[in-house]
């Protein structure tokens, strides 16, 4: 394979969600001396664009979009040693977690992975996260956005505690707050002083992107 062929092969491997082949061909490209930035632009970015279009056309499932994003991330990691200090630009930073008392994390995980695939730096605090842990993470990581999830009506009240604790710590104005999950509504988001509510993962990520434009 020549340079163009290997770049095309990696792109197609990503589109076909074939992690092993993506990895194998990326290593091959590096051996061939292909510029890693070309792999990023012509293989990963183009591959992701095709996958995104397939998702929009309902040919691919959202889960496949997520998998493609993860493959892109792993391939990028392989290229890092050759990038010689070239930093891959992130568009923003998000601290995300499921609130205290709630162990449901699958919706939060989807948002987290989609944010990463959209070039956000994501600090995922996991599930059952206390208001204090959210505040500590904001102090330490200085994100643009705090994202919270709750599935249960009994735990959604914890979201208000997080907003209150952020206010007490003088951090509320420094971050945007978005909430989501089966239990919450736009009305609830307004009532607790959150900036917005995402009714699903795609909408949540779209709102986050708007905030960091």
């Amino acid at each position: 394979m020549n340079k163009d062929e290997i770049l095309e092969a990696i792109r197609d491997n990503i589109v076909n969600l074939d992690f092993d082949k993506s990895k194998e061909n990326t290593l091959k490209a590096m051996e061939m001396g292909v510029d890693p930035q070309e792999v990023i632009l012509k293989s990963i970015a183009q591959g992701m664009e095709i996958v995104g279009k397939k998702f929009e056309a309902s040919e691919y499932f959202l889960s496949e979009l997520i998998v493609a994003g993860e493959i892109g991330k792993e391939v990028t990691k392989l290229l890092e040693p050759k990038l010689k200090g070239v930093k891959i630009k992130k568009i923003g930073k998000v601290v995300i977690g499921t609130v205290r008392g709630d162990l449901h994390d699958i919706g939060k995980n989807i948002v987290s992975m989609m944010l990463e695939a959209s070039e956000f730096n994501v600090i995922d605090l996991g599930a059952d996260v206390s208001p204090e842990a959210f505040v500590d993470a904001v102090k330490k990581d200085k994100p643009n956005i705090v994202a919270m999830s709750a599935l249960l009506t009994v735990t959604m009240v914890e979201m208000e505690s997080v907003v209150d604790e952020l206010k007490k710590a003088g951090l509320r104005k420094k971050v945007k707050v978005i909430i989501g999950g089966a239990a919450v509504t736009e009305e609830f988001a307004k009532s607790i002083g959150a900036d917005s509510y995402g009714s699903n993962a795609v909408e949540g990520v779209r709102l986050c992107k708007q905030w960091v434009k």
Partner: protein, 449 residues
Amino acid sequence: MKFNRVELDKNSLVFGFSRHPLIYGNGLEIGKGRVVPEVKYFPRVGKDSKEEFKAITEQVLKRATSLGVDRLQLETELTYVEMQQSTLPGEITRLQKNLIDAYSKEYGMQLALRVTVPDIRDFGKPKNDEGGFNRMMDAFEQVASNGADVLSIESEGGKELFNYAVIRQDLLGIVAALGYLATYDMKKLWREIVKIARNKNVIAGGDSACAFGNTSMRLAGGLRDNVIPHSLAAIVRAMSACRSLVAYEEGAVGPGKDCAYENVIIKAITGYPMSLEGKTAACAHSSLVGNIVGGVCDLWSNEQVENIRLFGGYGPEVFLEILHYDTKIMNTAIKIGMQQELKTILVESDKYVDPQAFVLSPEIACEIGGAIVGGGDELSRTISSGIKASILIMGEQRLKLGKSEKRYLETAKDKLDDIYRDPLKKVEQTLPSYQQKVGKLKVKDYLET
């Protein structure tokens, strides 16, 4: 006891009738020719749990007497809030049971109370959170001592891996979660629950794979949603039956929990009575299986409704009324010998709308049940049921699957066939790599039972 045959066929798998009926509570008969409403509720946010459960119980029983409901099961699903106070599970149960007994005595109603203890374990903690496990067992002891007639749980062993795998459509991870980790956990859990139930002379009801099957159903969503393939959700439903069956192999006798849609398959295998939910659960979540599972239920439930004020009363009493009228139709059909006809209507109205409904039709459930009991150990059974479900879905032209679903099904079938060739080796070899990816997963703790 290992189930090695399918107890019911597609005709005898019908609402209101089970092979092993039960009688418990204040003389409530289940699975003996009548479908019984099972009403479920949860307190309003920010209100005192005890006061709320008392008010709910009173309003439900009052509405029941007003409607002429003579048989009824209430289900209280405790949450982590009630588990924060050590004696609260027992106190709530006692309070409800006293009201139930009083109504039963005064109005001659056949009543019972199921209590579901939440799985509060944090699987990232040592020994799969032994402290959480002990608190759950203490709650079971408390509720069984204070008037619960049926004990249930929606246990979550294996969920940390399942969550990771399902959003990646990773069938090996799903199989390892359901067919390996979850079954280890179910054995440990249900040995203890059955022991408590027998000591306290109450019923060990059953478990729900809600954390797996309903998570997948939720991700699959409606007909226009595409987070995960609907065929994957159907395959997970079939596979989750193997996991939930473990409770019955450890000594549970039903009625299984309402949100365990896999109960259709489990009823076929065990002949035990089952609770199910459908259109009446729209207050809690949407589904594409609103009618079909009604065709085989013994208790008919509404999943959960908040104790909020509606125009026609509070949520729980309103949903009791809806359940009452649904079960009246079913019971009238039985009375006039039309149960098979009504079952056909319920089943056929949903069967070809979506693969998730298809796998829960009595005929298909019996076939999947056959694949399970003929499948050897739990891991092999899990894969067999998934393969069977995928073959049956692929072969049904009336399902009108889209291109992406068809593409997925072929991949899924190939993948499951591949895993089936040497399942234990494949799962055990792969689990360490999942352990690196899934922070909370501690495989060793599952195996130390």
